[in-house]
Amino acid sequence: MTETRTPSRRTSSGGRINRETSLNFTFNGKRYQGLAGDTLASALMANGVDVLNASFKYARPRGLVAAGAEEPNAILQLGSTESGQVPNVRATQQALYDGLEAHAVSGWVKSQKDLMSRFLPQVGKLGGKFMPPGFYYKTFMAPASLWMTYEKYIRKAAGLGRSPLENDPDIYDHLHQHTDVLVIGSGPAGLLAALVAARSGARVILCDEQEELGGSLLSMSGDCLDQTLDGQPASEWRDAVLAELAACDDVLLLPRTTANGYHDHNFVTLHERRTEHQADIAPVNSRGARQARSRLHRVRAHRVIMATGAHERPLVYSHNDVPGNMIAGAVTTYLTRFGVAAGDKLVLSVNNDHAYRAALAWKAAGRDVVAIADARSAPSGALVEAARAAGIRIITGAAVIEARGDRRVTGARVAAIDIDGFKVTGEVEELVCDTIASSGGYSPVVHLAAHTGARPVWSDEVHGFLPALGAPMLKGFDACGAANGSFSLEDVLVAAYASGVAAVEACEYPVADTIVPAVSALVEAPMLPLYQVPHDKPTARAPKQFVDLQNDVTAAGIELATREGFESIEHVKRYTAMGFGTDQGKLGNVNGMAVAARCLGQTIPDTGTTVFRPNYTPVTFGAIVGRHCGALFDPMRYTAMQEWHVAQGAKFEDVGQWKRPWYYPQGSEDMHAAVERECLAVREKVGVLDASTLGKIDITGRDAREFLNRIYTNAWAKLAVGKARYGLMCHDDGMVMDDGVTTCLAEDHFLMTTTTGGAAAILEWMELWHQTEWPELDVQMTSVTDHWATLTVTGPEARALVGELTDIDLDRDNFKFMEVREGMIADIPGRIFRISFTGELSYELNVPANYGQYVWETLFAKGEKYGLTPYGTETMHVLRAEKGFIIVGQDTDGSMTPEDLGMQWCVGYNKPYSWIGKRALTRPDTRRDDRKQMIGLIPRRKKAGDERIVLQEGAQIVFDPDHAIPMPMVGHVTSSYYSPTLGHGFALAVVKGGSARIGETVFLPQADGSTLEAEITAPVFYDKKGARQNV
């Protein structure tokens, strides 16, 4: 049973939580209750859980600092099951649901100790204060050879959560979106800009990372003097605008959706968390079907309006990391939106009016505001006056210089300070409190605007960075509201309206009447720039003043970095790790730059600008992958005979995206046994190969023949109708790129075949030449690869078998080698090509693919008496290699000319047009005698059993095995098999000057230290005269 607790920190009323619906959850194994509408963070706070994690480097206890994406500490591990584990979840961004289980990221302290004791036992004992910035670099970079070992432990020690060990049961998907206007952020600026666009008829997407749309409007309250819009409280205005937007057909509202990356030309990735607020694992939908847990929207927007608001900057003072130190706005938000007070006694340390809202809300919740330390000497705005009127003590010209406490704030040391002199000027007063809220001003959330390389620009007016609007990388990109440095509600709304109108006009819609809501008056006095608060000791000796809480970077660390000569902020960042990781400098970057600037005696913009990179907050791999996983990871292409191959138990080989039958094992056969059987069947009887994957291109036009002359290395002028010819294709650098047989079907009509892998690229290649160099040629090309099913029937019995299926006259004198005939094949119209890649009598049957499986099955119905055997790509490779037929891409690698391959017979040196590749063949480099040339290799057999030696493909070849290492490598094996026909292993290889070395011995040093020997032969091993294919 869950123990019933009365959350002491919950206020008695108010907030957007449902006090009737309580939810159970656990943290570190302990049970708690929260309310519907809570985030995990607000629920933990309500339960008085102060310490949520231990810090990255110093293992200091850490608690909640913020209420949103900028939270640096409360990064937890979620999941009640192993498969449901999710790392890197910010408690402030996780809605509470019943049954939620969360854990602090555990184990890192142990890992870190492990790291230290392994490599630096003395440091491990001494602990954190001997780990200054640059520690890792200095300690672990030398010797460099050990870095790989260190790195493993360092990564583990970083301890930012762990991935599940079991498969993720959830599904994810992507949605491609197009919109006129994408508005990012749904505070007052985003809502008004979206409203203008929607009323004008534009397609609009409005997204916001929070559970509910509304942004800052959600935490506005009369308690904090927050303003009304058109006389309505903020939440009512928000409700009305959202209702109007929701009613528009072409407006998409996406809460729980973070714009994670802004990419070129207004392409934005949005990460929508669809069920993360409901359960560990996505529940089924109303139809009982599975639904995506989260979704990546890939948005192309005509206009992007960034209305991402601002992050409040904490002040940097000593021990500002002890739980109970928060930013002021977060204290307000927990009170007004979630009905939770961070504590009982508050000290506020500020440099601006707006942060006073925390004190007003705190007071309204019946808690004690001990004092407000205001760095300004004479604060005067309406909020300040309200605080005074409420009887709150205001200490002017002062700041909290140090927090007291260990696992929770117990007090604050407050003193008058001289900002320009960077010193404490008065007596230090000790105040008793349990919460310190600070505010050093507001940093526009400009992350997205920096992703394409536009550097944010410092504004002395705003005391923050603004997006570089107008930069070429930000075309069609706009920003308004606090994200662009407008902080007062009036200014925000005026700017948002202007952004909305500009977007509508850019999209060429008439701008609909929309009036900027009237805002009740509220006077705010200017802020006073303050970043790091001086301490009564120098920074180096003062208690730690944290700048970046997630990465444990202190002001003293930055000071040290600048002393050691790191003057650019980019270098300081890398040296100290400031702004690294999932934090990306949300709270700390500007403060860090201010510290560096102070140390260097220069301004913040002189110190550099910050660059933020996507993703803004972590995205699960599931969302990135979407549905491109498992069986849908990559397309698998199949031929028309696939079902037959599967039924026959074929093993498949990947050739590009194609799945090709590799071999067809029978019984307990392994690949070698199956391939030997298949090879012998082809050489002795008849086999059939599914060759449908070969690229096929239909080429017509009166200049088709001339086009082939230019594209191929060999001559096509005299190829007669009905005849086929092998052709070789080169790049213009003279290197072989593809090959295949092309047939003349009619005077102006050719059917080209390409390699399986080259099909698409060759068509693109030929279009390139036709479109760019030779548009005058009358030639047209269309791919027919998928249209024709191709069955290669090969072997001595091929003629007899094919004769049973077709009305075409197969008589050897009437249908010769390298000819084509049209006719019926098993009652299906098609063509038969008498071409051979095995060296045996062969017929390639082409039928429209819808009938491919039928013809294939008919072939087998007739084939039994001939011993018809299906064979796969492995057997095809052995058979063609026995004949010395190359496979482009296996025997060539983009550095082989036709001459290197010994294929001078396939080069039309005298063709009139200087065909592609010809000129390069006379370059000095292609004329070298010592180029690697294609030869055959037969392993030397010294004892019984050596006939089974098969050289390894890729093995390096040397002339002198006794040469000192490194031996000059003179070539390598490109294809190598055991030949059941020859009774021994053999290989194709390339060797420097190899064609002049026939009969010589070369050596192949093996990984185990032994050396194999092989004899160089001509690259044809079987039926050297080619008699068998001509029968």
């Binding site: 990419h263 070129d264 030309h265 392409f267 192309r300 394409t452 070429p472 990388m473 760019t772 548009p775």
Partner: protein, 122 residues
């Protein structure tokens, strides 16, 4: 992920539909055999790698399958224009430089006018 205007389809399409094919306006010499090895080597292997304006050859591979040219800024990824095969770019590094020069000339003319006015003031 760029958004590319295909001059043949007349529309902006996603980058996924296109393949980049390297530098544009590389002419194959009419008479390759008349080229020196150095000239032929230039044609085959030597390409520009500017920081700034670059003319590139692309194909609308999942689309009309037409080759065309893009003038693109290699730092900002801004596409300044796309144009069909056989056409010449309207925007080049030179035209942009000339434009900038003209602008700064106009600006300095304006300021020198001010200067003169200033001088003329007693």
């Amino acid at each position: 992920m760029m958004h590319i205007f295909c001059p043949y389809c007349g529309e902006l399409r996603e980058e996924e539909e296109f393949h980049a094919k390297g530098q544009a306006h590389i002419e194959r010499p009419i008479e390759p055999e008349a080229c020196s090895d150095a000239e032929w080597g230039d044609y085959l292997f030597f390409r520009n790698n500017p920081r700034g304006i670059h003319h590139e050859l692309w194909i609308h591979a999942v689309g009309c399958r037409k080759y065309f040219n893009i003038t693109r800024h290699t730092v900002t990824y801004e596409i300044l224009e796309t144009y069909r095969m056989g056409e010449q770019p309207g925007i080049t590094a030179e035209t942009l430089a000339a434009e900038q020069l003209a602008q700064s000339a106009a600006a300095s003319a304006a300021s020198s006018t001010t200067q003169q006015t200033g001088d003329a003031r007693p």
